[in-house]
């Protein structure tokens, strides 16, 4: 009961210990203060290995941009060596040819390590149900969080990252899936009207370009052509 056993990845051997718990729920336990501390430290300083292949890479780039800042979650440090990273982002479609490469990179990472399947193609092969696509990365590596979407919105990926951080702090190894938001219809109307509030569509860009919203219609022809 005293020693902290590192659970085998994806294995059902880890039995939840029903003794003293610091934080968690019935699905996973941090059984000592050291565990909780380690979990807290690990989740807020994830070094990622971005294994980028396809279109989801564009949303990954957007995720690192100042608008959907990944740095505020502590996860923006890409380490292009698997030896130095602990979160493997599988971004994009993995083909059968790329599969041994991915498997080897996963094996080279040192535990504790986690895998986030970014996009539908990494989660399940997407709509490429053919001779050349791996039907989901979990056929060769154990996945911790699946973020579906083709490509997923950056907010969905951040949701997945928060799920993963929650998992890390609890120490659980069960895979989680990002589910779509469930805005009830009454809220949706409010959100849409908020977005189109003043009726001036240039306000849609005001959050990006503070100087733009003040320009009048007559100025739109100016600027270099």
């Amino acid at each position: 009961m005293g020693d902290v056993k590192e659970p085998l990845l994806g294995s059902r051997d880890e039995q939840p210990r029903r003794s003293l718990t610091i934080d968690g729920n019935e699905q996973g336990f941090a059984t000592s203060r050291v565990d909780a501390m380690l979990g807290w430290a690990r989740k807020y300083s994830l070094f990622m290995y971005p294994f980028i292949t396809a279109c989801c890479g564009m949303e990954f780039m957007a995720l690192q941009s100042p608008r959907f800042d990944l740095a505020r979650f502590g996860a923006e440090a890409p380490r292009f060596s698997p030896r130095q990273s602990d979160l493997l982002w599988v971004v994009g479609t993995i083909s059968q040819r790329q599969a041994p490469v991915l498997h080897r990179i996963f094996e080279q990472m040192m535990s504790p390590k986690w895998v986030l399947a970014f996009g539908t193609c990494a989660s399940s092969g997407g709509f490429y149900d053919n001779y050349t696509t791996l039907p989901g990365v979990d056929k060769i590596v154990p996945v911790d969080v699946y973020v579906p979407g083709c490509p997923p919105r950056p907010e969905a990926v951040l949701d997945g990252l928060l799920l993963l951080q929650d998992k890390i702090s609890r120490g659980g190894r069960d895979p989680r899936v990002v589910r779509p938001r469930n805005d009830p219809p009454s809220k949706v109307a409010e959100l849409v009207s908020l977005r189109r509030s003043s009726g001036d569509p240039r306000d849609l860009l005001s959050h990006l370009a503070p100087g733009v919203a003040g320009r009048s219609q007559t100025e739109k022809k100016s600027g270099d052509a």
Partner: protein
């Protein structure tokens, strides 16, 4: 210590040596994720290189044979995924050529506007990624911010930031929104400002220029015989832009220039792309003026265009038409056609073979960057190892297109 052999020049020792093999593997930050280059090096000079692609082969052509003509649009989006509207428009034009359809004017202008927005997004991504791979992270983030503005407009129009699947045979999925003109007029000057700031940051930087100038040059005749098209060919001095040479949609009715480079090196490819962003802005502004603000967006051929939902729910003919178009596909006449447009990387061609049914018999995509990356070996042999990064970045290899 053994005495130096003083008969050698400059005190060099002749050591037995063999070339070093280096693998720039398929998972590499500067290889855009899916290209493997096996290099044979002598010191830092590359003596031989073998560029291996195919790590993102997703079977596009085989998947097209399993659906209908309209079900190809999502697959086509994911070919050149940084400028998906250009692929949509290219494929729609190819099928319309086979069917003998011509879309209404409003749709043609709309396709041009969305296509040029996609082209701006493509060039911003390419130049930004090139800068990032050379160490200049800030301009990359600025260009991504500018790209977010383009994606905001596209999201307002099509519903998705990337991979819109907005094209349809015979038109587009929905008409332009009422905010399109205002959005573009507010975003485009701001995007140009960001591009200019990025240029000021990069093009006066001695290190950046030294890494790009004179690196990876190719002559115009060589580029042509390699099958290059697009900005890479134009950087070598050959004036071939399909929008000018064989105009489609309404490109012959508006006024824009085509930037041409001189020496065909990496710096020219970089500058040609930045120049094309400005020309795309001109095209969008002129198209917004000329686009009619009302009118049909799809041609009214019932063989290919879905009827409106009101009719589908109330009349039996529209229900049957809808059913047949979805379940069996639009019956495209028997024949074969090759249709080409100017995509972000060059001539994007679709060679379609139809057997008269609703399913394509063969859809062949002619990816522009496949040919361009085929010439990469030529560009890097004999050069330094560190020249691979800017050279490869300037070719704008998009894995989805190159490996289709």
């Amino acid at each position: 210590m053994e005495p130096l052999d003083l008969s050698h020049e400059n005190g060099e020792l002749e050591l037995p040596s063999e070339p070093m093999h280096l693998n720039m593997g398929p998972s590499h930050p500067a290889m855009h994720g899916t290209v493997r280059i096996v290099l044979e090096l002598s010191g830092e000079i590359i003596t031989k290189s073998d560029v291996q692609i195919g790590y993102l082969h997703r079977g596009f052509e085989k998947m097209c044979e399993r659906g209908t003509w309209a079900q190809v649009f999502p697959y086509v989006d994911r070919l050149n995924y940084v400028s998906p509207m250009l692929n949509n428009v290219g494929y729609a034009l190819a099928v319309e050529k086979l069917c003998g359809l011509s879309v209404p004017d409003r749709c043609q202008w709309y396709r041009m506007i969305l296509g040029e927005l996609a082209r701006i997004s493509d060039h911003l991504t390419c130049t930004g990624a090139m800068a990032m791979e050379l160490g200049a992270f800030t301009p990359f983030l600025w260009f991504v911010k500018a790209r977010e503005m383009v994606w905001d407009i596209l999201e307002e129009e099509t519903g998705a930031r990337l991979t819109h699947s907005f094209g349809r045979i015979g038109g587009m999925a929905f008409p332009p929104s009422r905010d399109l003109r205002a959005l573009c007029s507010s975003a485009l000057p701001r995007i140009l400002e960001i591009v200019e700031e990025g240029e000021k940051m990069l093009l006066k930087n001695r290190i950046f220029l030294d890494r790009l100038e004179g690196v990876g040059p190719i002559s115009g005749a060589d580029a042509v015989s390699l099958g290059w098209t697009g900005p890479c060919l134009r950087a070598s001095g050959i004036d071939y832009d399909i929008r000018k040479a064989h105009p489609y949609l309404k490109y012959d009715e508006i006024d824009f220039e085509v930037p041409i480079g001189t020496s065909g090196d990496t710096l020219d490819r970089f500058l040609v792309r930045l120049g094309e962003i400005r020309q795309s802005k001109r095209i969008i502004e002129q198209s917004l003026e000329r686009m009619p603000s009302d009118g049909p967006i799809c041609c009214d051929d019932p063989r290919v265009v879905l009827p409106s939902k009101d009719d589908v729910y109330t009349t039996i003919e529209a229900t049957i038409q809808h059913f047949k178009l979805i379940m069996e596909g639009a019956k495209v006449p028997k024949g074969e056609v090759y249709s080409y447009t100017e995509a972000g990387n060059g001539e994007l061609g679709f060679y379609l073979v139809s057997d008269g049914t609703g399913t394509p018999y063969r859809v062949r995509v002619r990816p522009p960057c496949f040919q361009v990356v085929g010439g990469l070996s030529r560009l890097i042999d004999g050069r330094l190892l560190s020249d691979i990064v800017p050279t490869f970045g300037s070719l704008n290899m998009i894995g989805g297109e190159c490996d289709h």
